[in-house]
């Protein structure tokens, strides 16, 4: 049976990559779901750009605190040992190099590690938010996004067509079809969604993907 991965599963897979002791920033949209993952014995400190250090899972209905939201404006909980800072300090954490990984959404990711997530073609406004600061300040960038646009166009490309958020910073991408590492040779397909073939994934990808001999099924299902 073919299973296109849901967003929580995509985020759970990225969350499995977080190393004990990492400070992890979760960006607007899909990445917020990483905070729901059970990290077990690992201590993972989730930072949200609005000054929350130690974000926990999303708040359950009826348990929301009106004074506590994440980068997406969703009500969240705190983990033990949380701290609050103001906005300038929050971005000092980001630019100062204290973030081990920033997980962001994107419209496009290129095989050279460029990504675009702040403006689409032909619009007057845009959504930069903290993305440009995170891209230059974090030690690495992971992206969580749907594999194609609503119209079916690829989002993994040789080069970005939209204005970029930052150049050459993306290390890993999870989509509803698989997990990709960004290597000097291009997108390496590490794990694939259950029931899909690498040819099917290649057909909806705008760059050549590298398929290793030991390609495995997406880990949460393995």
């Amino acid at each position: 049976m073919r299973i296109s991965l849901d967003r929580q599963t995509m985020c759970d897979r990225l969350a499995m990559e977080f190393q004990d002791g990492w400070v992890v920033n979760l960006g607007f949209g899909i990445p917020a779901l990483c905070s729901n993952f059970d990290f077990g014995d690992k201590t993972i400190i989730i930072h949200s750009e609005n000054g929350v250090v130690g974000v926990g899972p999303l708040a359950r209905e009826g348990e929301e605190d009106m004074h506590l939201v994440n980068a997406s404006g969703q009500f969240v909980t705190l983990r033990k040992g949380a701290a609050i800072v103001h906005h300038a300090d929050s971005f000092s954490i980001i630019r100062g190099g204290y973030i081990d990984v920033a997980v962001m959404g994107a419209y496009e990711v290129a095989e050279n590690g460029d990504f675009a997530n702040w403006t689409t073609a032909g619009e007057r406004a845009g959504r930069i938010g903290g993305a440009m600061d995170l891209a230059v300040g974090a030690k690495r960038v992971f992206i969580a996004m749907e594999h194609t646009t609503k119209g079916g166009a690829p989002r993994l490309l040789k080069r970005c067509t939209l204005p970029v958020t930052a150049v050459g910073v993306v290390k890993m991408v999870v989509t509803n079809l698989g997990l990709f590492e960004v290597t000097p040779q291009g997108f390496l397909l590490k794990e694939i969604a259950p029931g899909y073939t690498s040819e099917e994934v290649q057909a909806v990808t705008g760059a050549e993907i590298i398929v290793p001999n030991d390609l495995t099924v997406f880990k949460p299902f393995g």
Partner: protein, 234 residues
């Protein structure tokens, strides 16, 4: 010293002139000075420049989206425009100007204004459209952009608790832009959730914004319909 405690929101915003530059605190719902914005809507000042993380969330609780919809702003400096058809229309028609700034640069420009810093270099935005027209400098082999402070005539912010000297405490992520905006504006006006404390009732170690940065305060009256906090849309 003249009391900083004002009896009404209308009184607190009465002197805001046309053409004023106003910083608005808030990120998501927490910290948005909804009551001061509602009072400003009634007060009538126009041709305003707003400095805020976003231009508001149209169609929901009172925020600065209402000022934009009422054609009361001529410029907005912000980092993130989620969905604002009115703003897009006004920009298209040349009636409003948008300055889109990376959020960390926005915060630091506000902080710099309140800290007496003339300008600063940041690596944020290098190689993107945000770098257009900016002075570049290489420092220790890394490229940076020159950024200038953002000042304001007024800051509208919301706090959890205050004493009558103007010492403020915020609660959780409500803090966001409050402390830096309070420092960057000539006149800082605060809407306060809890009843005012007497001087000395607040532990000095627990003051987030000292009263020297605060000009006026109003205790938030019981919420009329539509003013209360509510979740922002996804």
């Amino acid at each position: 010293m003249k009391s900083k405690v004002f009896q009404s929101l209308d009184e607190a915003v009465a002197d805001v002139p046309d053409g004023a530059t106003i910083m608005f605190g808030g990120f998501g719902a927490p910290g948005v000075p909804r009551n001061l914005i509602a009072a400003l809507l009634g007060q009538g000042a126009k041709e305003l420049t707003g400095i805020s993380n976003t231009p508001g969330w149209p169609g929901h609780s009172v925020d600065i989206a209402r000022l934009i919809e009422a054609r009361r702003m001529r410029k907005i400096v912000c980092s993130f425009v989620h969905a604002s058809p009115t703003l897009e229309e006004l920009i298209e028609a040349g009636e409003m100007e948008l300055e889109l700034v990376p959020q960390g640069t926005l915060s630091e420009r506000i902080r710099a204004a309140g800290a007496g810093i003339g300008a600063f270099y940041t690596a944020t935005g290098v190689g993107t459209e945000a770098a257009k027209g900016k002075e570049h400098k290489s420092i220790d082999c890394r490229d940076y952009l020159l950024e200038y402070p953002l000042r304001a005539d007024y800051a509208f912010i919301r706090a959890y608790r205050a004493d009558t000297f103007g010492n403020l405490q915020y609660r959780l992520s409500q803090r966001n832009f409050g402390p830096i905006m309070a420092q960057a504006a000539r006149t800082t006006i605060v809407e306060v959730e809890e009843e005012f404390l007497e001087p000395g009732a607040m532990d000095p170690d627990q003051v987030h914004t000292p009263g020297i940065f605060v000009s006026r305060m109003v205790q938030i009256p019981p919420a009329p319909e539509g003013i209360g906090d509510s979740p922002v849309p996804e």
